[in-house]
Symmetry: none
Subunit: 416 residues, 2 copies
């Protein structure tokens, strides 16, 4: 089964935004067995949209289109598709209801011609109702090809793909069974991971396809297998994962689509323990990640964004003496922050981070990227120094995930 | 002048990586006057690469290709291009020198067949020498079209574009001037913005192209104009922006590529004022945004992530009495948080946020999405209630940008 993805939007063609939708869609439909052949970006331009559709419609089984469905004049995808599929636009009751509800939920009234027009849809398409915006998804069929048009707003698009498109495709099409298992690793660079795994990879069951998916927060190893019997295939994959564990076990923090903050949530609930966080250079990012997990208020009490020495002193009881003697980015300060935080917030664990995110603030001795992280438990504090890079936002990401991994290992007893 | 961009790489088609090269290239060549018509991603597949080239080569003046130039077996771009342009591969002395130097600079020797092959190039192309890697850029010409092939490693590609491709294009081609100006708005949904602007839009100088670029953090309005005289065009665009200001002035928070946090930084510096932030449901996200701006430590002192009532009481001096009487998500509590925060951290301004991010915690009276935001200045506190949606992470984003916009307006005197 072959698929093409079309992204419509002038803003991508002038380089104003990066198209991240295509990547996400590619991954989702690849997961259910489609081979993605091309990803094509065109502008909000009728002639171009039609020319691209003409050139691919007979060559693939599925075309997923995003973009150009907004209420403004430059958005023309719906009109072009209606014309392309010899249809006409007509107001749809259900869509009108969705649009009205959505607008009302924002505290406005549907008294506007443009928004009302969002409820018009080509009469020959199947509607994919969108509760998160004003543009419904549309599902067309022509000969052997399915054409799906979705809004470009990522969370609207994602919700429609997960709730509607994927289940419908699975129902409509004879897709191969594909099993994926994803092993989540942290703390080892990709090249070293690949080197450690080269023997294992060479001896991997030849029906299994392996992909490395790296990011600052985790490297995912995805094992995929096309199979006839799901159970048998799972056994084969699990066997390989057991081998994997014996080689890189200490870097594996979980399976599936989790992040370190999810695993920490599970560990804290399991241990009936609580957490507080004091952050300097990461300035709330670690707290935000911990709190991104639903139910985190059961174990996360909060923290202090100690962006100035004054706050480190006042709120976390780090003594002026230590701050002056060692500087804000030091073992002594970060350990004092962790202990102060833990005691004042009365939590079982605490994380403390202090670093130089850049671009300013670096010295010869402590260059930009220098970061101290401490973890405090009931009777113990550990700390480590890292030297990340020169890029402010990336340093925040590195320091954040590093601190989460240190807490995970601390709870699991790695530092004993 | 029209241009297409081709990205070659299987890893993009399975959703393994996001193609950020195309965006960057699009912006660069758009800036010098090319209209980008399509961005196309294909796999490392001879038939697909040729089919795409065939379909576009007579339709554009420039094709920029990245990817598929590495030393591994799946990289076939160079061979395919040599064949496509009826050429043959031959070792090039200068390229061999570059490859040798590069490998040596990494502490290795050129003793490997694969790396030596990197020095082979089609004899009929112009070489763009690459000092940062082993793959040279290649410049082909066919009829009226220029085809440039570049490595996919971002910094190698960028260096070649800046140092070679752009200057050569400017020399070779008669390019128009394009001017872009972007107006940043917040606080009005896209459809309402479009309605307010429909008269203005209809009377817009017909040489100006308008695009709406919406996200939860801002809606950008981009005005673009192809022109012969840059100064004249700027006058025309500025004239339209003046009209725009008189219609939607209160929603405009800036120009160019800024976010609310950048503008707040500018305002605080201008007023020599300081800021602290106490967050419940947003859990550090607003602090993180404020601190994402380089130099923010000059005005941002920090804050408290008050994820529990205990912390609201202990760290922000919100009385137990108020917490019990009104609940954590209330006007009274959020105003007490803002005042407590401001006084304890001794800042000129403070932001306080308390809400129900979901999925749990909602009640009939205070459903998921209910959020109170307060801003405190020296002698004044204001607060507002919002009802966002049902999605946890999106609620955090909405509450965060709303609080930043409230602070911006507060500083500017909108609430007086």
């Amino acid at each position: 089964m072959k698929a093409d993805i079309i992204t419509i939007g002038d803003e991508i063609l002038i380089g104003q935004i990066t198209d991240t939708n295509s990547q996400w869609i590619a991954e989702q439909i690849n997961n259910i067995g489609f081979e993605i052949r091309r990803i094509i970006t065109v502008g909000d331009d009728k002639e171009q949209i039609i020319s691209v559709l003409d050139s691919i419609i007979n060559e693939v089984n599925l075309i997923v289109i995003t973009g150009g469905l907004g209420p403004t004049e430059d958005d023309i995808t719906k009109q072009v598709l209606a014309e392309y599929f010899n249809s006409e636009l007509k107001e749809n009751k259900e869509v009108l209801e969705d649009v009205t509800n959505f607008i009302q939920s924002k505290g406005f009234k549907l008294n506007n011609e443009r928004n009302r027009k969002q409820a018009e849809v080509p009469i020959n398409c199947k509607i994919l109702r969108n509760k998160n915006g004003t543009a419904p998804g549309m599902w067309f069929e022509k000969d052997e090809t399915i054409i799906v048009s979705l809004p470009a707003v990522p969370f609207e698009m994602k919700e429609l793909v997960e709730r509607k498109v994927i289940p419908e495709l699975k129902k409509d099409m004879k897709l191969p069974n594909i099993i994926h298992k994803t092993v989540l690793t942290y703390g080892i660079p990709e090249a070293f991971l690949a080197e450690k795994l080269s023997d294992w990879e060479q001896n991997l069951n030849d029906k299994i396809k392996l992909a490395y998916l790296p990011s600052p927060e985790r490297i995912r190893l995805r094992l995929s297998m096309i199979c006839e019997q799901k159970k048998k295939a799972e056994e084969i994959i699990n066997f390989e994962i057991e081998k994997l564990k014996s080689i890189i076990g200490k870097y594996i923090f979980g399976y599936g689509d989790k992040f370190l903050e999810n695993i920490i949530g599970e560990l804290l609930i399991e241990n009936e323990a609580t957490l507080s966080i004091s952050e300097s250079c990461t300035a709330g990012n670690v707290s935000r990640l911990i709190a991104s997990v639903p139910g985190s208020s059961n174990y996360f009490k909060g923290g202090v964004v100690a962006y100035s020495n004054e706050i480190k002193n006042k709120q976390l009881k780090v003594s002026q003496n230590i701050l002056e003697k060692y500087g804000a980015v030091s073992k002594e300060v970060v350990e004092a922050m962790a202990k102060g935080q833990r005691d004042i917030f009365n939590t079982d664990y605490s994380i403390a981070i202090s670093g130089i995110a850049g671009p300013g603030g670096g010295t010869m001795e402590k260059p930009v990227g220098t970061t101290w992280i401490a973890i405090a438990g009931k009777n113990k504090v550990i700390s480590k120094k890292y030297t990340f890079g020169k890029r402010r936002l990336l340093n925040v990401r590195f320091a954040s995930s590093k601190s989460l991994d240190m807490l995970r290992k601390f709870i699991l007893g790695y530092y004993e």
